[in-house]
């Protein structure tokens, strides 16, 4: 392993960390941003997560996917960070959630940039954001999410529906604004 104690002190070790950071930090940082919703917390999560990666490199089995392994560590670090730092109750809910299912073609013409999409996800409340990211971006099932977050499957479903509803509303606002701007420009 390149992070071995043997390489410590001869520069190889430090260089390896640097290379690894430059290679993987950008996409891992994007994950951190998706979960935390702000840059400051995302930097904390990235730093903690990367340190865990370095410390736990011995546990990584060479046959597996390094990216998937790193991704899991970063996601878990982000979840713990949110849980530790979020003052308000993450999954409090008393009112039921009813999903408004959008048309399949409703978002076909949507031309939001990646940063705008990221902003939309970041604007979600922490509980919605966690479930939405885990379900949509990480492809976990509701059962897996329930186990990870210590909540029920129904809560996970409810959080996802609410997240979708909120995102849909904000997307509609965005699209209406866009249409209005286009009409104004054409007239």
């Amino acid at each position: 392993m390149i992070f071995s104690r043997r390489n410590k002190g001869n520069g190889t070790h430090d260089k390896a960390i640097e290379v690894m950071y430059d290679l993987h930090a950008p996409w891992l940082f994007a994950i951190c941003l998706r979960y935390t919703g702000n840059r400051e917390d995302a930097e904390d999560v990235l730093q903690d997560g990367f340190i865990k990666i370095i410390l736990a490199y011995k546990k990584f089995k060479p046959g597996g996917s390094l990216e998937a392994w790193m991704r899991r560590i970063i996601v878990n670090t982000a979840l713990n960070h949110i849980r530790d730092h979020e003052k308000e109750k993450l999954f409090s809910e008393l009112e039921p959630a009813l999903e408004v299912v959008p048309d399949a073609e409703a978002f076909e013409g949507c031309d939001l940039t990646q940063n705008q999409l990221l902003e939309l996800v970041s604007s979600l409340p922490a509980g919605y954001r966690m479930v939405f990211n885990l379900y949509v971006m990480e492809d976990y099932s509701h059962r897996e999410i329930a186990e990870m977050l210590g909540i029920s499957e129904n809560t996970s479903r409810s959080q996802l529906l609410k997240a979708r509803n909120l995102l849909r509303k904000r997307l509609n606002v965005y699209q209406n604004e866009k249409k209005y701007t286009e009409r104004a420009a054409s007239s």
Partner: protein, 454 residues
């Protein structure tokens, strides 16, 4: 990627999900240069650093093992603390015969013992005494007459040992001593309060012909008591961390007994631990729409004249509910009561007459005794409740904690003392049944106890 596609097929397809998934999947955001520099600086020393957790656990285990061994040695390895010392001594009846003239023999009784000490008072004219010592009688078997220099003010050191005489009579000695010696002053003393010397000197004397004349007394030597047992009432508020739904505060109270031996102590007892928590309930309901009058039956009867039929309608009010199933989430407050059995070892590193400071460490077993609902169930109003399910992870029946603390004990009066003990607990397992994400709880508490010395 293949796995993701496969999983996505099983999942419901949702255009919104697809939009975000496609848009954000390959998103990259470069962290700031400052962040990079900070990380590289911190990470430079990390690789190759061995995780300390294993060593910490090993250290705690070794510490507990050492404390246990020391405790065991002190408790079970010290059977010899009560020493049976067999005195073989000349014991005479309580009788005081003091001869004030020089050269005479005085017999007196050692205070508090009932044993008679026999000695010869030194002649006043010590300088005139011959150099040779008193001719002593042959030493009888197992007779002991220890010499205590400290009791001889103004006397010469004893030069001989007076043999044992029959316990019932001092006559032989009294008569022999002046006759045979008649000259040099000599002192022979016997003090039964000096067991060590007696023991040492008892060995060389052979058992012999005077056995019938001696008396053998077994005297138990008991060292000063350096242990005690205390009974205590304690109360310990505890603040837990890494729990769900902010269930942090725990009340612990109970009775315990502490066995102190020197600086060490072992404490155990029975206590109750009471905490509250909120459980999330999923209530499925059908919304209430309204009420209508449902016609059950119509009865026709002739009127009195039998000209007209009178209809009587029988109906009941029927409530109508929407078929939509609503999921409602509510929280029910519950109280959990645990039985706690601690086993705490202690070492006092500083003690004075009133205050002692020490460290405490050990384990506590918590057994869930009962769970009570404190708040009422979900109020659905007019809606129809289809099902109510408890969806929060419940508490496990048994958990173990490691406890470490610093103890300060203040003696209030002869038998009562007050003990304060800030302590930290680490739970070896989560208190919840299903808690993949929940870290193992730990807690900080302050134990206060009133101790009664038994």
């Amino acid at each position: 990627m293949f796995i993701r596609m496969k999983k996505s097929i099983r999942k419901e397809q949702h255009p919104l999900d697809d939009l975000f998934r496609q848009g954000l999947d390959d998103l990259e955001v470069t962290p700031s240069r400052e962040q990079r520099a900070i990380f590289l600086g911190e990470a430079a020393d990390l690789a190759g650093k061995k995780s300390l957790s294993g060593w910490v656990y090993a250290g705690i285990g070794a510490g507990l093992l050492i404390i246990g061994l020391v405790t065991g040695l002190l408790i079970w390895g010290d059977h010899g603390s009560t020493v049976n010392v067999a005195y073989t001594a000349r014991v005479q009846p309580v009788q005081q015969t003091v001869m004030t003239n020089p050269g005479q023999v005085a017999t007196t009784t050692a205070p508090g013992t009932g044993h008679k000490a026999v000695f010869m008072r030194e002649k006043a004219q010590a300088s005139e005494a011959p150099a040779h010592p008193v001719k002593s009688l042959p030493a009888p078997s197992a007779s002991v007459a220890p010499v205590i220099p400290g009791n001889m003010d103004g006397m010469q050191k004893p030069s001989t040992v007076i043999p044992a005489t029959p316990a019932t009579s001092t006559e032989p000695l009294i008569t022999q001593a002046p006759v045979e010696t008649s000259t040099p002053p000599s002192i022979t003393t016997f003090t039964p309060d000096a067991p060590d010397q007696t023991t040492e000197q008892a060995e060389p004397f052979p058992t012999g012909n005077n056995e019938s004349r001696k008396q053998v007394h077994a005297v138990k030597y008991t060292p000063p008591k350096n242990w005690d047992v205390c009974l205590g009432l304690y109360y310990s508020p505890e603040w837990m961390f890494n729990t769900l739904n902010g269930e942090k505060f725990v009340n612990n109270m109970g009775v315990d007994g502490t066995f102190h031996f020197g600086k060490y102590s072992v404490r155990t007892g029975l206590g109750l631990s009471i905490t509250t928590g909120s459980n999330e309930m999923l209530v499925k309901t059908n919304p209430y729409v309204g009420t209508y009058s449902f016609l059950d039956s119509v009865q026709f009867n002739w009127d009195a004249m039998h000209y007209n039929l009178i209809a009587t309608y029988y109906s009941t009010n029927k409530q109508v509910y929407d078929t939509t199933l609503l999921n409602n989430y509510s929280y029910i407050k519950k109280r959990y009561t645990y039985l706690q059995i601690p086993l705490i070892l202690g070492y006092d590193f500083w003690q004075n007459s009133r205050i002692s400071l020490g460290i405490r460490g050990g384990a506590v077993m918590s057994l869930l005794l009962k769970t009570e609902n404190l708040s009422g169930s979900y109020n659905a109003g007019m809606d129809r409740v289809i099902s109510i399910n408890d969806i929060s992870p419940d508490r496990i029946d048994l958990n173990w904690q490691a406890v470490a603390g610093i103890s300060a004990s203040l003696k209030l009066s002869g038998r009562f003392s007050l003990e304060l003990e800030p302590e930290i607990r680490y739970y070896f397992n989560s208190v919840y049944e299903s808690s993949v994400n929940t870290k193992k709880p730990w807690s900080a508490g302050m134990r206060s106890a009133l101790l009664i010395k038994l």
